[in-house]
Structures are given as C-alpha cells and as structure tokens.
C-alpha cells in the first residue's frame, strides 16, 4: 500500500515537473519572439546579414523545393484522376490540383522540407556557437545575440518562405499538368480552363499568409533550440532534432488554426 502511494506520488511529481517545464519553455519562446521584435529595427540595419540568411534559407533550398513540388503536383494529378473515376468530369482536374496546391500542399510541404533543412542548419550553427562560447563572445563585445543572430534568420525565413511557396505552387501545377496531359488524357486547353475557372485570389493569399507564419516558426524554433544548447556535440545533436521536430509539429498545428481563422473569418463568404 505504501509502495502504491509512493509510486502515485512520484508519478504526480514527474507529471507536475513536466507540465511546469513545458509552461516555462513556452514562456522562454515567447520572450525570444518579443525580443526579436524589440531588436528588429536595429537588426534590419545589418542588411548584409539578412541577405546572407535569405540566400541560405531561400536560394539553397530551391532544388529541394523544385523536386518535391514537381512530384507533389504529379501525384496530385494521378490521385485526382483515380478518385474522379466516373463520378467527376476530368475537366475539373486542373482546378482541383490548383486549389489543393495553393491552399494546402504548397505552403505546408514547403514549410516541412525547408523546416527540416533550414531549422536543422540554424539550430546546429547557433548550438555550436553556444557551446564554443561564440555567443558569449558576442555579448562580451556588447553585441546583442538576438539582434545579430536571431533577427536576420527569422526575417530571412519569413521573407523566403512565401517566395518559395509561390515557386512550389507553380512547379506543382506544372507537374500536375505534365501528368494530366501525358498519362491521364486531358488536353492542355481543358487543364488550363480548369485552372482559370476556379482560381480565387483569396486562395493564393491564404497560402502565402500561412507561409509567413511557417517561416517565423522555422526561424524561431531553430534559434531557440540553438541558443538553449548545452554540452558538446551531443547537445548540438539534441538541439537540432528538437528544432526540426518542433518546427514540423508547430507547422501542422498552426496550419489547422490558420485554416480556421482564414476560411471561417477573414475570407469567409
């Protein structure tokens, strides 16, 4: 009986500690976000640092985004053709691919692959800087690490994610077109007509607004876990994993929240 009580108490304590740690973590991330806004004006003055990050986050992700988007569009065409069967006329295939890509697949898949690549890179770089005292060195030189390191990365991600999403949308629609025309038997005219028929500007905007939020999530998660790195190489590995996992989870959770806000309130008919 005493053993049961002790086990219950230990379980309760462990759960309590876990909850308190999670609350503290949310608090620390919130403070980092506030700090980033506080230092953003001066941080943006170091324009070269922002451009470097835009290059690292955007330009170096181009090939990956290109390949993933091309096959996403291609698979969408195959799946649409299969699901339409005899129920829905194939003339709608273009509009279905377009809307599913620009509202959902383009921004979310881009965020997931860029989150994997860039989130890991940011966490590993800042984590290494933390354990080799480079972050302390910045502070000791009266240079705020949030201004110097976080602002360029977060701004770079927020600017580049929507641009990458536009590229991903275009490539995916093209990938869908290639498959629709070559293996589903839809003519170019039918596909393009379908694209035009159900294209709404608000769909494109909703995807791009999501991409802005996803960019922020990727940048902040990478920076937060990088800054929190402890220990040596093992700590950097842990930080990198946490940054990527938390980015991906938060992208999906915020996608649901944003979808509700955008389609039920902002763009509601």
């Amino acid at each position: 009986m005493a053993d049961d009580d002790s086990l219950t108490l230990r379980t309760y304590e462990a759960a309590r500690t876990r909850v308190l740690d999670s609350i503290a973590e949310v608090g620390r991330i919130t403070l980092l976000v506030i700090d980033t806004f506080r230092h953003s004006l001066r941080g943006l003055r170091a324009f070269r640092l922002v451009v470097d990050q835009m290059h690292m986050i955007g330009v170096q992700s181009l090939m990956l985004v290109f390949i993933v988007s091309l096959f996403t569009g291609a698979v969408s065409a195959v799946q649409a053709a299969y699901q339409f069967s005899t129920v829905v006329p194939l003339k709608y295939i273009g509009s279905v691919i377009l809307r599913s890509v620009i509202i959902e697949l383009g921004p979310v898949l881009t965020a997931l692959i860029v989150g994997g690549r860039v989130g890991a890179a940011i966490a590993a770089e800042l984590g290494t800087m933390r354990v080799t005292e480079q972050v302390d060195a910045l502070e000791s030189m009266a240079i705020n690490p949030v201004r110097y390191l976080v602002v360029p990365r977060v701004v770079g991600a927020i600017v580049m994610l929507p641009l990458l999403t536009i590229l991903a949308n275009t490539i995916a629609v093209f990938g869908g077109y290639v498959v629709a025309v070559t293996s589903v038997g839809v003519s170019t005219h039918t596909y393009v007509t379908g694209l035009k028929q159900f294209f709404f500007m608000k769909d494109l905007w909703s995807g791009l607004i999501k991409a802005v939020f996803f960019g922020g999530i990727i940048g902040w998660m990478g920076c937060y876990y990088g800054f929190r790195t402890e220990g040596g190489a093992e700590g950097v590995g842990v930080a990198t994993t946490r940054a990527v996992v938390s980015s991906c989870v938060l992208v999906l959770v915020s996608d649901y929240v944003l979808a509700n806000v955008l389609f039920r309130f902002i763009f509601a008919e």
């Binding site: 080799t132 060195a137 502070e139 000791s140 009266a142 705020n144």
Partner: protein, 247 residues
C-alpha cells in the same frame, strides 16, 4: 579599478563562488589561479555580466555591474576585452572580419580605417597578413593570438584572459605570456588572468590570487607566493597531490 565583494553563485547543487572578495588596481595584472572547476571562468563571466550572481557586488570604475540593464551594461562591456579559453572566433567570418566586428558595430570608422586597425592589431600579435584566412585553418596558438587581436581592437581599458596558455606548447605559451605583458606596457591595460599554469602566472602577474572552495584564500605578489608558508598555496604551486587541497 575592479572591486569584487562577497560574490556568491550556486550552479545546480554546487556552491561555485562562496563570497569572493578581490581588488584589481588600475593598470595592474592580477592572476586568479586555482584548480580546474573552482569557478575561475565563472568569476570572469560575472565581471562581464554574462552571468548574474546570487549575492555580492562587482564594481568597475565605481559602477556596480550586478543587475545593470542591457544598455548601461553594454557601455561597461565596451571598455573590456575578453580572450576566451578556446578563443571563440566566429567560424563564419574571416580573421579580418572577426577582429573588425566591434569596430563596425560600435564606431563610425570607415572601412579603410578598420582595415588599417585590423592590420595593426595583427602586427601587434605577430600575425601579419592573415586577414582573409578562416579560423578553421588556424592552429590553437594562432587562434589565441587572433582572439587577442580581436579583444584589443577597441583599445580596452580592461582585459580578461580565460586560461590564455591552456592547450599550447611551452614555446607558444611563452609567446602569449610576452604578448600579455607587452600589452600591459603598451596600452596600460588593467587585467585579470585566470590560469592554473604557474609559469604563466609568475610571468604575467603583478599580483596572484588563489581561489579555493569558492573563496580567495591568498593574495600577494609572485615573490610572496613563492615564499609563502600558506599550505594551500604551497601545495598548488608545487603541484602536489598531498596537502590540504583534497583531490
């Protein structure tokens, strides 16, 4: 002048600093020695405001840096140069960019003036012409000297050295010791050197302070340290495993 009074810091369950009192007079070099893990580096980080103590005060030119807000603290930091144990050079930058970073951030110097200053500081540390090299291609001794050049780029009034000779061969250690000494003579800098290398301590120190169990247990000149009968100091400078300091 730096005046430290009653500095206490607990990290986890360990009381790392337990009432440190230390004075560093203007223009002098004080060497803080002690075994590994006695809180020497932690002490330096407190002086720079990189860590906050649980208790105590640290006055730099009559300004208490404990609890100071970021703006005023940064003004104090600009008067300091800090040589980190591993040099802490920024890997993504060239040597020139590393040394010039504070000049670009805190002064209105033109690029040509910055290049001139960088070249001059590299010459001071005997590393002329390596501005375009990346830190990854430098040896340990070269990294330390570049770190030193970066620390003195802004003509600091105070220098903090964290284990400046650790991991270096004896000849390179001597080069670093001479550099520390020559800087003191050249720019009259007030310095704190943290080390457990007694050769280095005797060479660069005007005064030695020994940290043990979170307190300063001895202060004196190198000659006083050599002739002291204090059992803690004797055991440490003789490098003996037998004595009051338990291993």
């Amino acid at each position: 002048m730096i005046r430290i009074r009653g500095l206490k810091k607990k990290l986890g369950a360990k009381q790392v600093l337990n009432g440190v009192d230390l004075d560093v007079p203007q223009g002098r070099t004080v060497v803080v020695m002690g075994r590994s893990g006695t809180g020497k580096s932690v002490l330096l980080k407190h002086i720079m405001g990189l860590m906050q103590p649980d208790e105590g005060s640290i006055e730099v030119d009559d300004t208490d840096v404990v609890g100071l807000k970021e703006g005023p603290l940064n003004e104090v930091r600009k008067r300091f140069g800090f040589l980190f144990q591993g040099a802490a050079l920024f890997d993504s930058m060239t040597v020139g960019e590393n040394i010039g970073i504070t000049l670009r951030e805190h002064t209105r110097m033109t690029e040509s003036q910055i290049r001139e200053r960088v070249a001059e500081r590299l010459e001071w540390v005997g590393m002329t012409g390596i501005e375009d090299m990346k830190p990854a291609s430098l040896s340990g001794g070269m990294r330390k000297r570049v770190g030193l050049a970066r620390a003195i780029a802004m003509d600091p009034a105070y220098m903090l050295y964290d284990e400046p000779t650790t991991g270096l061969d004896p000849i390179m250690s001597d080069v670093i010791n001479r550099l520390i000494r020559s800087l003191q003579q050249r720019i009259g800098v007030t310095s704190i050197v943290v080390t457990h290398d007694m050769n280095s301590a005797y060479h660069v120190g005007d005064e030695l302070a020994m940290l043990h169990d979170g307190r300063v247990v001895f202060t004196g000149t190198p000659d006083e340290a050599r002739s002291t009968s204090d059992a803690f100091v004797r055991q440490f400078i003789e490098g003996s495993s037998e004595g009051p300091i338990r291993v």
